[in-house]
Structures are given as C-alpha cells and as structure tokens.
C-alpha cells in the first residue's frame, strides 16, 4: 500500500505547569537551581503521602470567565490553563480561523470526587438497615449536579473548546501513561500524513487529591519515605510521588508553521508505543525494539534521555534494562515534578524540546547520582515512558 509522503512536524507551542512553575523558562531555571529551587514537596497536607503540588496560578490569565472557572475542578483548570499557555506560545491564541481547523487530542483520567459526601455516605451505609435505599437517597440529594461534568474524562477537552475555541476535532484518550504517549503518537502520525496541519495535544493530572493518591495506594505504590530521586527508590521497595502537571504541545506541519511565520521550538521526529504483558522480558524487548528504531538516527554523544520513570520498582527495572545498556545520559523529571500519569509523556516531550532548543541538558535531576553529567551540545532527546503497570513508549525530539 502506498503511504502518504511524510511531512516534517514541529513543536511550535508549549504550555507547561508543574511544581517548578509555569512555562519552559521557569522549568529551566528551577532545574538549574539549588535544592530549594527544584524540590517543592508538600509532605504535610496528605501525610504520610507526599505530592509535588502545582505552582499557584493566576487562573484568570488563561480562563478569564469566572463561570468557566467555577464549572471546572482542579485537573481541568490546570489543563485548560496549560492549553492556553501552549496556544499563546504558538502565537495562535484567539485566532479563530486557525483554531477552527486545529485538532485536539487530550490524554485524561477522571475527575475529582466530593470527598465530604463520599465520607458521609460511607459512614451512613455502615449504619443503615437499608443500605441500597440509603445510597439512592443520598446520591439524589447530596451530589452536585455539575460535579459530573468535572468528572467526565472528555470534559477537559470540552472545556478547552469552550474557553479557547479549539474545535477542529476533539478526542480524549484514556489509559494512564499510555494514553499520553498515544495522544502524541496519533497527532504526529496524522500530521505526517496530512490528516490535519495543526494539533493541540496534552494532558493534565492533579495529584493533590485523596482519590488519586488512593488509587496508587491500592497497589502500595506511594513513596512515603523521605524524598530521594526516583532511581534510588527501588532498593527500598520503590514507589512514586505524584505530581500535579498540565502539559500541552502545539504540533504543526513545518510548511504550515513557516507559512504563518511561527517560530519552531523543536522537531518531533518519531513517537512509538506498545503494550507488553510484562512477562518473560517482553517489555524490555519492546523498549529495545523501539530504541532500535530511533537509534540509527542518533548523533553519538549529542543525545539526552528524558525519562518518565515513576519510581515503581518493576517499571524502573524495565527502563534500566535499556538505559544501562545504551549508557546515554538520562534525566528523570519525575524526581522533582512528580509522576503525573497521563500528563507525564507530553510534559517530558516539552522538557525534551526545551533542552534541544537550548542545546543544553539540565544537570542531573534532584542531584541524582544515577544520572551522568552532560557537557556536550544536546541536539537530540529520546523521551521514554514505562507505565507504572502497562504501556511502553518512546519519542525522538530534535533540535531545528
């Protein structure tokens, strides 16, 4: 079958919000700063659990309508804000004609619960002689009708359409880390094949929620010991510290970007993904296959790996298998921005673009002794993703 001629895809806009700040410059400064600059841990609010909370935002800057802000919960505000930053950065914010033909792919989980109501219902269920009837009555009376709209996975995309006017298309992918990888992969595939000229891709994750922490605690996957970089955690049982992140990318066909005079940040050359059962080394094999697809194009000594390592032992072991063999300097951003599940991969593509655009890597993250210094000029970055349970992915981001 004939495959459509592949067009070059550029990253022309980035919106990134995390514990380290807002925008790439803030992230660059923090990652190059001292411990106080890069470790913004909240160890008290959800103790014994720790989170990397998002920096405080002036939400009105990207979500001017108060009604819109009120209709959203935290994860949606974070994502809608980051999406606005990306559009602004790409120079397309408010350009209705462009936004009408802009295609959106969002990687999302679900939204917040009403914690007080859940607690009251659980207490009542234990005391009730007719628990099912009690549940119906409480749900009918206590649920806020609009909370549903903050919980639906596709309503981050919906809010971005409403607030920013992105309406060319709107798809939401679910499935934890893998959803973030495939959102970027499918956007790139479509861009390469002329199934759209300009894309908005990303995700948002709020870690500052008991229910997200709970989900990882079901698998006893939270790191509750004193903070150390992700690579150091497996020897003590492993674990993740969740982080609130909003990360969006504007991915655009080169010719489209040039025509409108947009400045590229980096080139997005390749994204791959896979799902191994994680038996008998199949995930390690998949990562090796994906690496081998990228490696022929790598310039010796000019590559940095931007890793989405979670700190969860099994997943870290899969990733170390490939990294230890290739011996490329690695930066695991999750050590300081935390693990942001669906948003992890878009965020790391953003940070990879930052490094290749500057031609420089940030120092080992969180002072990690497992990450080699990188003094040579950085021209390429390989972004890796090994999901905490499933999903293996990779991207190649290159300097322009």
């Amino acid at each position: 079958m004939a495959i459509a001629p592949e067009r070059e895809a550029w990253i022309t806009g980035i919106g990134l919000v995390s514990a380290l700040g807002e925008g790439l410059d803030a992230h660059w400064d923090a990652l190059n700063g001292d411990r106080e600059a890069w470790l913004k841990l909240d160890s008290t609010t959800h103790a014994p659990y720790q989170v990397h909370p998002a920096v405080a935002l002036d939400l009105a800057k990207q979500i001017p309508d108060r009604g819109d802000r009120r209709q959203m919960e935290g994860w949606q505000r974070l994502g809608t804000y980051a999406a606005g930053l990306a559009l602004e950065n790409a120079g397309v914010k408010g350009q209705d004609d462009l936004l009408k033909s802009m295609h959106m792919i969002v990687a999302a989980g679900g939204g917040e619960r009403d914690y007080a109501v859940d607690g009251q219902i659980l207490s009542g269920l234990e005391a009730s002689n007719e628990p099912a009837k009690f549940l119906n009555e409480r749900l009918m009376n206590d649920l806020r009708p609009t909370l549903f709209l903050a919980q639906l996975s596709n309503l981050l995309a919906g809010n971005i359409s409403i607030v920013h006017g992105v309406v060319g298309s709107s798809r939401t992918f679910m499935g934890e880390e893998m959803a973030g990888v495939d959102a970027v992969r499918v956007a790139l595939g479509r861009c390469h094949a002329s199934q759209g000229d300009i894309f908005l891709v990303g995700g948002a994750y709020s870690a500052e929620r008991p229910d997200t922490i709970l989900h990882f605690e079901l698998g006893h996957m939270n790191w509750t010991r004193p903070w150390v970089p992700v690579w150091e955690r497996p020897k003590d049982g492993g674990g993740t510290i969740l982080g609130s992140v909003g990360a969006f990318l504007v991915i655009e066909a080169r010719e489209h970007a040039e025509k409108r005079g947009a400045t590229p940040i980096a080139k997005l050359s390749k994204v791959s993904s896979d799902r191994a059962r994680r038996r008998d080394g199949d995930a390690e094999h998949s990562m090796a296959v994906q690496w081998n697809e990228i490696s022929p194009g790598l310039i010796p000594g000019a590559t940095i790996v931007v890793s989405g390592a979670t700190g969860v032992s099994e997943a870290v072991a899969i990733e170390r298998d490939i990294l230890d063999q290739r011996r490329v300097p690695t930066r695991a951003t999750g050590s300081v921005i935390g693990h942001s599940v669906e948003a992890t991969f878009p965020a790391n593509v953003a940070l990879a673009a930052m490094m290749v655009a500057r031609g420089e890597a940030v120092p080992p993250i969180g002072g990690s002794k497992d990450e080699a210094r990188m003094t040579r000029k950085v021209k390429q970055a390989v972004v890796t993703s090994v999901g905490h349970w499933r999903g293996e992915g990779m991207a190649l981001v290159e300097a322009i």
Binding site: M1, E126, M174
Partner: protein, 424 residues
Amino acid sequence: MAHMKDKHGRPVVVVTGMGVVTSLGQGKDENWAKLTAGQSGIHTITRFPIEGLRTTIAGTVDFVPFDNAPDLTTKMAALAGAEAVGEAKIGAEGKFPGPLFLGMPPVELEWPQRQDLARASGKSADITYTDILKGAAAKDFSAMQTRFLFGSVGDALADRFGTKGAPISISTACATGATAIQLAVEAIRRGETEAALVIGADGSANQESLVRFSLLSALSTRNGDPTAAARPFSKDRDGFVMAEGAGALVLESFEHATARGASILGVVEGCGEMADSFHRTRSSPDGAPIIGCIRNALDDAGVTPADVQYVNAHGTSTPENDKMEYVGLAAVFGDHLPAIAVSSNKSMIGHTLSAAGAIEAVFTLMTIRSGIIPPTINHTEADPAIKMDLVPNVARKATVTRAISNSFGFGGQNVCLVLAAEPA
C-alpha cells in the same frame, strides 16, 4: 472493478465483520429480528434497588454476569468482538492483525470498593478519605488497583484478541463509539495498519451513573411504561433512557480485504467532526457545529446530500438533542430531507452511551445490507417543529445504498459517519 482508493486518493476502508450486544440480546441475528419488529429492550431496573430514584428504567444488559462496570464493559466488548472477528475470518485465533480502538466509559471505583476500603480501615463512623487511605494501606488491594485502571479494559481485550501494539481507549462522551471508528479509519488511510478492530462498549449503568444523568434532568421519567419511554423526535419526549451494550467492527483496507477474499459488509466512506464551544451540555443554538460536522463527513466521503437515503439519527429522545439534530439535518439536506428516511435505534435499545456510535454503525450497515429500515418506535404524537420521515413505529423495506450515522455528546463532541453498501 471497484477502486482501491477513494476520491481523495486514500485507501478505501471496508467492514468485514460485525458484532453486537444490547438489551435486546446477544448477536446480530437476535438484535436485528427484534429491532426490525419494533421491540424495546427497556425495562424496570432490577440490578439495584430503585427506591428513591427519579428514573427507574434502563436498557441494562442483564444476561451477562459481572462484578463491576469495567468488568461488564470488558465482557460485552469481548462478546461483540468475537462475533465480528469470527465473521471476518481474519488472522489466526487470538492473533488479530492490527490495533484495537476501544470506545468505553471512564473507569472509577464504585461503592462496593469504597466500602471494602472503609471497612479495612476498621472505622464505621465519621469515615474520611484519610481512613480510606489507611484501609488501602492495611491490606493488599492490588487486584482492585489494576481492575480500576482506565487501561485495564483495553488490556484484557488486547490479550483476548491478540491485537497489535498499544490499544487506544477513547472517550468522547456519547460520540465515543463513532470516534473509535474514525480513529481506525484514519489509521488505515494513513497506511499505519491494514486492519483494525473497533469496539464500543458500555456497561456502566450503576446507581451513581444513573443519578448523575438524572440530576442533569437528562433522563426520561416515564417509569410506568418502560418500553414507551424512549420516544425520539416525538412531541412528548422527555429524556433519554440509559442503556448498555457493545458494538464491534472489523475494518480493513479494501485492498487487504480483497486480497484475502473476505466478504465486504459495507464501506466507511467518510467521517466528519466538529467540536462545539458553546456549552458543556448544550448545542450551539444555531446548530452550526452539527451542520459543520455532517458536511465534513459528506465532504470526506466525497458525496452530496442527494446521495444519502437514510439517516441513523443520534435521536436520544431529549427535547434538546432531537430539536437540534433536526435543525442540523434540515440545514444540510434542505430540499432532499423529505425524501430521506430518519430513524433512531435508541427508541428500542435506549442510549448505550460510549457504545452507541459503534452499535448504531453496525445497525446502519445492516439496514443497508438488508434493505429494511428499523423504525422509530413510540411515535404517537409528532412534534410540529420536526418535519421528517421518521419511519414511525413499523420497519420499512427500502433500498439504501448510503446512510449517515450521527453521534453527539457532552463536551461539544459531534461525529458523523458516512456508510455505504459497497466500494464504488
């Protein structure tokens, strides 16, 4: 000799296998017999007690035993998928030669799980999330962790069918099933794969989901006569009926299907989309995104309104949707609209939410193949503001070579598919 490429020079995408599960039953034959007989699958809910609920009816699938919503979603998806793959006779057993595109509802812990966790904490009064977290830490809940990951449904299905690569799990609210088809069509058109398995499944009709829609006043409260509750486009429609089910389609490039001698069940000629930025749950009053979405689909297929004989409507039976869908169809089809048959499967199977787009695509293709248009039942009182041929109450024989299937959802999601009999 039919063309392997469409009018835009892209690979023609055909359907070679289909499967379906709804409240009417399991499999295409049973569903089609009941659907064309105008039979409803809507009934009073028995899955959970209904005391205190405003809506007590649904189109739940009660013949598949299950533990929780992701489990039921997985099981119905597997049933529909197996029927589709079996019909397509594609690949080897457990080795499907392409990726999985799965439309499904969001996954979340349910009340039984929350109660297990609360009990594990040892507390029975004044329970907070701090206690629930203590409960989670106290015992091994790793199986629960995995089950309630969003990726777990696709993971189980990827294992079951041996699909290639990472399964894509999609949520675009009530347009989800159609979006899954659209993503697969795009992947085949760009040469990323020759075949794809598309499944839309939804088994999430539990208490809290029902209450959520109920609190938004979206559901019919015609509890006394369940089979008469879903009445799309009627003057006295009062909301949709929540339902469950699964639809599956094997999509292939025409070239791939022909080369292996597969029977062609139909063609996905075009997909159109346009998001709505007006409101989280309501359509733009001017209908522009719905109009744009349908026009995009016709353009993508390279056909005109005059080439369409049947519309498989989104037709939820809510006052708002049906009015806006009519506005959209009237604008796009204009003078042709009176000559076009429009019917809503939801009058019989209810609104199968994340599965609807896939199930209704299957039924649309069966309409084209059989020459029988399933009716819009419960049509007793016409809405004077809606002037369409709704195939009221009784199925009709008709030659349909091309149809569109609409799907619209919360969050401004609008998708339209153009489906046709055979490659041009």
